[in-house]
Amino acid sequence: MTRKQIFLNLGGLVVLIGLLGLFYWQSTGERAVPAMTAALEDSDSKVRIGAAQMLAEIGPAATPAVPNLLNLALHDPVLYASTTAAGALSRIDLGAARQVMTANLAALQDPDVQNRRTACAMLGSLGPVAKPAVPALNTALDDEEETIRMHAVGALGEIGIPAALVVPALTRALHDKAPQVRHRALMQFAFLIPPTDSVLPHLKELAEDKTPNIATLAKSALNSPHRQGNQTVMYATMLQMGTVNDYTLRQLAQLGPAAAGAVPAVIPILSNERPLHRYLAAEILGAIGPGAKEAIPALTAALQDEDAVVRESVTEALLAIRPTDGTDRTTTQK
């Protein structure tokens, strides 16, 4: 075998690697949006779900797919396809996600149990963007159907904010007459929602419950990692190290004023490319309240955000940080 033959074969390998790289480049990021948008119309639900997941991962660059995702979220006969599309919308276009929320809020009052259950699942899949649905879901905790109460608990856990409304609602569900609902509420405190001091007596009570799986889960919630160490420092460090994700931001938004130490790490996220991250950053600062004063200039700049939902959240945050500000200005003008 000659040197030339060896180098030709090695060159062939380099070409193959280049072709694989090109294939990867073509199939990911915004270049994949047209193909994924077309896949949303596929007759196979698995294809539609996979395409929606890919578009969610792509994020705001997948904006051209929003009408198709909206159609999938509102009209797909397969619930998992609808919830996946709704979840994708919350990462691409907050306004479209709010449209899905509005459509499903009405369905919470539907006489048909299946429709109410679907509405709960859909609202939960939207995550923190469905914050305005929390009062309606709180009301759904009084539904006569156990399955609706259980799904409402799940949705409240997935939305997670504002903690001031979600935590009392889930605490109420801890005492539901149905063990399944109590179990679902405990799961939220064990895995998603940091249990506040006001919840602890209820968890301690359930740790002695006669139903073994409820008692075990209550003990897990009491030992929840959310209660270990200084959560604010941990999440702020993650943000400063560039780990900006939905989970970290959501956890900080649930901590409320206790997250004041994270303000310097949260401020830069107000200009993040992802609208969901900007929205969550505003929610964190709003939940911190007056302790987030140093964020006022950044929040004021964010009032010009291109996304209406982010602007709304920023306005609320500014009001929470300086609640008397508007009144003062009016008084000064007078």
Binding site: M1, T2, Q5, I6, N9, L10, D44, V47, M54, A56
Partner: protein, 169 residues
């Protein structure tokens, strides 16, 4: 141009094993996944193939990355085979035979272990299953040289150098 040897059979064998090794490393995970999915779907090959394509870059699946990770040790083995066997024609026949035995055992170890790992992973999926795809290339990078050493050792036992002709002087 430097000629390293004229043994066409050995050249074709080296080139064939080189490309075969690379392609096998790339497509093995896909073959296992599609076959498993098709058997689960009772013969739905087209659906299994479509499902595989859909998950090539899907978050939480990324079958493309799995193929690339699996291919890494096979590519290194392929380069070794190309150079090691491609230049063997200049050596004595006994050395060529020993090299071939070493390469054969290294290939058998790589193909066997990788296939077994992928089959077991899809047959018994669990939350930590994906870790296999990260650790498998590392294990293979250790096992391939070991396989070659064993094969070369066996080759030395099977293929002895002919005794030197008796001194007639």
């Amino acid at each position: 141009m430097t000629t390293m040897g004229g043994n066409r059979t050995l050249t074709w064998l080296a080139v064939g094993l080189y490309w075969g090794c690379i392609v096998f490393g790339l497509v093995l995970p896909g073959i296992v996944m599609v076959t498993h999915e098709a058997s689960r779907l009772h013969g739905g090959w087209a659906e299994a193939w479509q499902d595989y394509q859909l998950h090539l870059f899907a978050p939480g699946f990324n079958f493309f990355l799995i193929g690339i990770l699996n291919a890494v040790p096979f590519v290194l083995l392929a380069i070794f085979i190309l150079i090691h066997l491609g230049t063997a024609a200049t050596k004595e026949p006994v050395i060529v035979s020993r090299r071939l035995t070493g390469v054969a055992v290294a290939l058998a170890v790589a193909v066997g272990f990788s296939t077994w790992a992928h089959v077991v992973t899809v047959l018994h999926p669990d939350a930590q299953g994906a870790l296999v795809y990260f650790f498998l290339p590392i294990y293979l990078l250790g096992l391939i040289p070991l396989g070659y050493a064993v094969g070369r050792g066996a080759g030395m036992l099977f293929f002895k150098k002919p005794a030197p002709p008796p001194d007639t002087a």
